[in-house]
Each structure stands twice: as C-alpha cells, then as structure tokens.
C-alpha cells in the first residue's frame, strides 16, 4: 500500500515513498545552480538524465520494489513548464505501465501539508516562502485561501538574485544568510501593503549599494528588511484570522533567522509555531507522495488525460477533500 511521489517543479528532481502517512524514502537529485541561475531547458535535461536513478534510489532506501507501489503522484504545478513535464511523464508512464491510480498534486499544498503533519499542527496559518512563491495561506473547508502574497517576485528569488549580483559562491540565499551574520543595518526600502508585500524595489536598491558598502552590510540589511516585511504581514494575517497556530514552509523556511523572527513574533500572541526538517523544506518527493496518498484516501480519482501540468497552478484551485 505504498505511494510514490515525484517532484520536478524547479531545480530538484525528487522521489519520495510514503505509506499511511509515514515517509519511507525521500531521494533527490539537484541541478547545480551556477551564476546564470536556472535555465529551464537545461534543468529539464538534468531531470531526464537523473530520473531513473532517483526512482531506483528511493525504492532502494524504502526497501520496496516497484510492485509494492500502488499509487503515484506528481507535481502538477506551479513551476517551470519543461521541468514539470519530466515528472509528469515519469508518473504517467508508471501509472499506465503498472495500471495504478495517478494524482496531480499542487506544490504549495504539498509543502503546507507535509509541514502540518511533521510539525504536529492541526490547522495552522501557513507562511509559504520559496524561490518562486511567497504567500500567506489559510485553510478553509475543502481548500485554501491566500490572504496575502508577493506583488512581484518570491523572496527566495530575490535573495538568489542578489547572491548572483554580489558574485557569491554558491550563488543563492544561504550565502546571503552567511554574509548577513557579519553585517550591520543600513536603511533600505520596506514595502508592505496590508498583507501583501513586494521585493523588487528592495532588490534594486541592494544591487545599487554594491561597491559603495560592504557586502556583509548589504546582505544583512536586505535579509533583515525582507524578513521583517514577511513577519509584519504574517502577524496581521494571524490577528485577522485569529489563528492559534503558525507554520513556515518552503525553501526559505530553512533560514534560521526567519524562523527565529517568526517565533519571537508569535510568542506574545500565544501562538504555536512550527516548522519541519530541512529535507522537507527544500523541494522533495515525499511531500508529493504524502498528498497523493491523502487524495487517494479521501476518494479522489483522475483520468490519465486529466493529468496535465499547469505552470501557474494556484493553491486556491485545489479541492482538498481530506480536510
């Protein structure tokens, strides 16, 4: 009774295996990001080259064989078209060859649900922060509601972009975080509109400061400003929804500074704050398998020709029959 989940929305090709909510395997192969960022066609090539061995690795880690897998899930979106296509094709092939049901999964929903499960939260307000997305998501009956989100780019994309401008190695957010520890605060533009926020103004201003201030100071101020914006919007959403729980998830949720700030913010309100292990915050197949299993157990079923991809698949479109 095991479910295999395939994630391929961006740089990670991930394969997870889940059985009754327990993760048996979470194998990944990651496209190495260079100073040029992600070129979708090249990332898709990487996925094509590594998908077979990643699936084999997951089966090996779980101690199961393909004949033990009785349903399969894949990321339908949001994500990069050429990359999503590889995971979809792999999942459809497995489904057809083995005559097992297939489930198209929303990527944001998968991050939120695996966090809810692993952090032991019942019904948290979720701050979902990654490269492409930054959203504040509340649950509602059979679905989700986005209360606030970025008006331009995702916070992770902003940090990665700055890392590339500052020629950091590796060129992404974790390098900014390292450099930020040694920096001091400099004023930067701060953009919050109710529960929405915007990052391009901040990015432009940080890029312009390069050469005139120390990189550490810019990193520090960029990160502090961006995370403060997220905290402010989240606090507003928490008070509005009267939510008693908060979860942070997605790639940027790996930042210990962001987690610290959210924890300090929630404490005076008596809100339970939770997050999960880094392997589930970076993109992974286990969360896709986990949601595919929820979909199966709540009675959803999908015809193969309805198993499409959607680069802009919104979490509000998800019919979450399990909640």
């Amino acid at each position: 009774m095991a479910t295999l989940g395939i994630e391929s929305s961006a740089h990670t090709f991930g394969v997870g295996i889940v059985e009754r909510g327990r993760v048996l395997a979470n194998a990944k192969s990651m496209y190495p990001i260079t100073d040029k960022g992600m070129i979708p066609a090249k990332v898709a090539d990487h996925h094509i080259q590594t998908f077979k061995e990643t699936i084999e690795q997951a089966l090996y880690d779980s101690g199961l064989s393909m004949s033990d897998i009785d349903s399969v899930g894949y990321t339908r979106g949001p994500g990069l078209g050429p990359c999503l296509r590889v995971g979809q094709l792999a999942a459809r092939t497995i489904s057809e060859r083995r005559s097992i049901p297939i489930f198209p999964v929303n990527h944001a929903c998968a991050h939120i649900e695996i966090t809810r499960r692993m952090a032991g939260l019942r019904s948290p307000l979720a701050l979902y922060v990654s490269g492409g997305n930054s959203q504040i998501v509340a649950r509602e009956k059979h679905g989700y509601h986005v209360l606030g989100e970025t008006l331009d780019i995702g916070v992770g994309n902003m940090l990665d972009n700055f890392a590339r401008s500052a020629k950091m190695v590796p060129a992404w957010g974790s390098s900014v975080a390292k450099s930020a520890i040694k920096g001091r605060y400099l004023p930067m533009p701060y953009t919050v509109k109710g529960m929405d926020f915007a990052f391009t103004g901040l990015l432009t201003s940080a890029a312009k400061m390069l050469g005139r201030h120390s990189v550490n100071d810019i990193s520090h101020s960029l990160q502090e400003t961006a995370f403060s914006m997220l905290c402010e919007a989240t606090e507003r959403a928490l008070l509005l929804t009267r939510s008693r729980e908060l979860a942070v998830c997605g790639g940027v949720a790996q930042s210990s500074r962001l987690r610290e700030m959210l924890s300090i913010m929630s404490r005076p309100h008596g809100i339970r704050f939770g997050f999960v292990d880094d392997q589930y915050n970076s993109d992974n197949g286990a969360m896709i398998a986990y949601v595919a299993e929820l979909m199966r157990d709540s009675g959803s079923s999908f015809q193969l020709d309805k198993c499409t991809i959607d680069q802009k698949y919104r979490i509000e479109e998800v019919e979450a029959l399990w909640r």
Partner: protein
C-alpha cells in the same frame, strides 16, 4: 488608559487631551526586528500617519483630527461609530467610494483601504488608519486601493455600489484597467475573494 483595540502594528487606548475625548495609537516595539529598523518603521509610520490625516482632512475627507504627535504615539479625536465591515449599507458604500475618489484626486493612496478601516458614524462615513498611506499619483497604488476594497467586500454587487460612489472621474478608466491587470497577474484570481 484603557485599551480599545489591538492591531498588528499598534494598540489603541482611550485618553483625554485637554478635556477632549481622544484615542492614542501607540506603535510599540516589535522584538522580532532589528532595533534600528524597528525604530525607523515606527517613527516614520507615526509621523507619516499624522501628515496623511492632515492632508486627507484638507482634501475634504472626514478623518479623525490629529491632536498631538509624541514619539511613537499619535493622539487623535475619538470617532463614534461602527466599522463598515459590521455596518454595510448601500449608502455607506457609495459614501466610502466618494471618499476614496477624493483621496486619489488629492494624490493620496491609502495603502490599506478595507472595510475594517472605514467607520460609519451617525451623520458621516469616516476613513481611518492612514499608517500605510502615501502621497502618490501612481496608478498602481490607486488600483491596489480598489483591489483591497474589492477583496474585503468579497461581493460583486457591493463592490458595484462602492464604485458608483467612486465615480468616473479623470483617470478612473486607467486605474480600472490597471486593477484588471493586477488581478490577471496570476497572483490575484477571482476565487481569491472567496472567504
């Protein structure tokens, strides 16, 4: 001082200023953000709010009168009434639409124009909470004011009443065009307005 309300960025207390019934909006420190950034945000928002309230009042929009600004505390005239959120009528929506049009004509974007930031009094409809307002003639900012109202009303008919008050002044067509564009950016979709 008795606390009246607690928002995400400030707490409201009742107060008395020279015998006048007043409220104080106090922006207290946020421990999660760095001290310099925190001080800067709280100071600039408090000063900005006082300035914007004055400017909006001068443009003929009913807003609480600023009595005193002291550090991170803003003392204002106390308004008696209900939040529009809890007292939605066609008349009050049309009036709220007129007020936003007047703000936009005066080059002010409110920044958080929702039904929770409008008060319906006995004789007038008041606009409150100018903490995120700015002097701006940007079409984008104005479109976002309309978007926030549309989202908080969450109902086409009600938003229609609001828009009948907002009217068809100079530049409205452009703003409405931008509203459509912001919504279609894929981040804001129709079903987002479902609560």
């Amino acid at each position: 001082m008795a606390m009246i309300a607690e928002g995400a960025e400030a707490r409201l207390f009742s107060a008395n200023v020279l015998g006048l019934d007043a409220i104080v909006k106090h922006r207290e420190p946020k421990a999660y953000r760095e001290k310099e950034l925190d001080t800067r945000i709280r100071r600039s928002r408090t000063e900005n709010e006082a300035r914007m309230l004055y400017r909006a009042g001068a443009a003929g929009v009913p807003v609480p009168t600023v009595l005193l600004v002291s550090g991170f505390k803003l003392y204002m005239e106390r308004i008696n009434g209900k939040l529009l959120r809890d007292a939605i009528t066609k008349k009050s929506l049309v009036q709220a639409g007129r007020h936003l049009a007047a703000l936009h004509r005066a080059g002010i974007s409110h920044g958080d124009f929702t039904t929770a930031n409008i008060m319906v009094g006995k004789a007038r409809v008041w606009v409150i909470d100018f903490g995120l307002s700015q002097v701006s003639n940007s079409i984008e900012e104005k479109a976002i004011d309309l978007l926030l109202m549309k989202r908080s009303l969450n109902d086409k008919g009600l938003f229609g009443f609001f828009m009948s008050g907002y009217g068809k002044g100079k530049g409205t067509k452009q703003i409405l065009g931008r509203l459509e564009e912001v919504e279609s950016r894929g981040r804001y979709q129709a079903d987002r307005y479902r609560i």
